[in-house]
Symmetry: C2
Subunit: 238 residues, 2 copies
């Protein structure tokens, strides 16, 4: 059995719906890394895909020499290391740690509530959503303000490392569009008005979100709302 | 309230028993990184420790300017980045990925069975231990052989990256001494004779283990058998 791949370029195996795979797509786009793409239908995986990944997960990045790279965080990190001019990882060791630590803490704060809300009994979903805003998003807002206090001088800016866009954004914010979709399915709009009603200030969080979600590479890598609906609506019995 | 720390050096907060903390200690020693050490009694934590880590875990590395670094893997990675001459992380992006991926896969293959065996009902412990040898250790042995086939020329050697000792060793093998202790509490010696009785070949695994465990920085960072006993014997009702 053979499988499709580029003979000369890196080949990315991905799926639009998957927030983990989107990390790899987005990182490659930000780094302007030339590569081929194969889309995998996760509900109907091609039989050859077991040759690419015995675990059948996306993303996988195939090197032109045939080595496969697994695990979205490690693939994104590889892209950042291979294209240092992208600035996706800073070169200073302490700044690198700060990116790593932000990813470690914040990724789960966005991914976990998405599924907790989606899987909650319908009458409890709005409550779970309000809880997530008050707890998880406030925590992220606080972490961003703490980073701001350390990003001084020429390094001031909207991102986790101030003016430098890094993996800290790519490896956390792909989970947010899924969370926002789940909120909307609860008839909640995740915005400053909602936060204000709950008595919390998420202005730094929204400033960050809006700047990142406006990046062309994010927009190109993101699933449509319709596609996300096909995933979450059945889970929520909608 | 104040807390003990060096004003000029990095300060490591650690505990000999903890395999996660040992990653940080070992990495600092391999990198010959000058630092101060504060030992935390995990069964009787000093009240000031909440100022160092609200989660009360070890290790924590404090920078001279007061920043705290959490999460053993990220601390070890920081040490490798800060002391590139240590070679604890290679500079080539694909080699870095290979270290990361080995850690991701193998750490759990050693840590998980340690606690599964320790917590099993006593009559099932030996069975669980045999299973772990046949499944987890064989998998590691296979991964090492696969790496060998890629480590060619001047890069041949005992370690995951051949001749280069890296975080691939530090961030996986601190779990092995705990696993070996748990085996010994089941009256099993984890060695080639045991593997042979089970019909599996772990010679590459033992070659790796023996070379790594002979390193002075490993030996200095490791807990004594007696200390490990005070942790595992009560868990196993011994």
């Amino acid at each position: 059995m053979s499988y499709p791949h580029s003979k000369t370029l890196m080949t990315l195996y991905t799926a639009k719906i998957c927030p983990f795979a989107q990390r790899a797509v987005w990182a490659l786009k930000e780094a302007k890394a030339e590569h081929a793409t194969e889309y995998i239908d996760l509900k109907n995986k091609p039989s050859w895909y077991s040759l690419v990944n015995p675990l059948l997960q996306v993303p996988v990045l195939r090197m032109p020499d045939g080595q496969f790279l697994y695990e979205s965080l490690l693939v994104a990190r590889f892209v950042a290391d291979k294209y240092p001019e992208s600035g996706l990882m800073p070169s200073d060791p302490l700044a690198r740690y700060n990116v790593d630590y932000f990813i470690e803490r914040v990724g789960g704060l966005l991914l976990k509530p998405t599924f907790e809300i989606a899987r909650a009994p319908s009458e409890e979903r709005v409550e779970k959503a309000n809880e997530a805003v008050k707890k998880n998003l406030v925590e992220i807002n606080t972490m961003l303000l703490e980073r701001d206090s350390k990003n001084t001088g020429g390094n001031k800016g909207t991102y986790v490392l101030g003016s430098q866009f890094t993996l800290a954004e790519i490896c956390t914010l792909t989970f947010l569009s899924r969370l926002e979709l789940v909120f909307s399915l609860c008839n909640l709009e995740l915005n400053e008005e909602m936060a204000s009603k709950l008595g919390v200030d998420l202005s730094r969080f929204f400033e960050w979100r809006n700047a990142v979600f406006a990046r062309p590479a994010y927009i190109e890598s993101a699933p449509t709302k319709d596609l996300m609906l096909t995933f979450f609506a059945p889970m929520m019995n909608l």
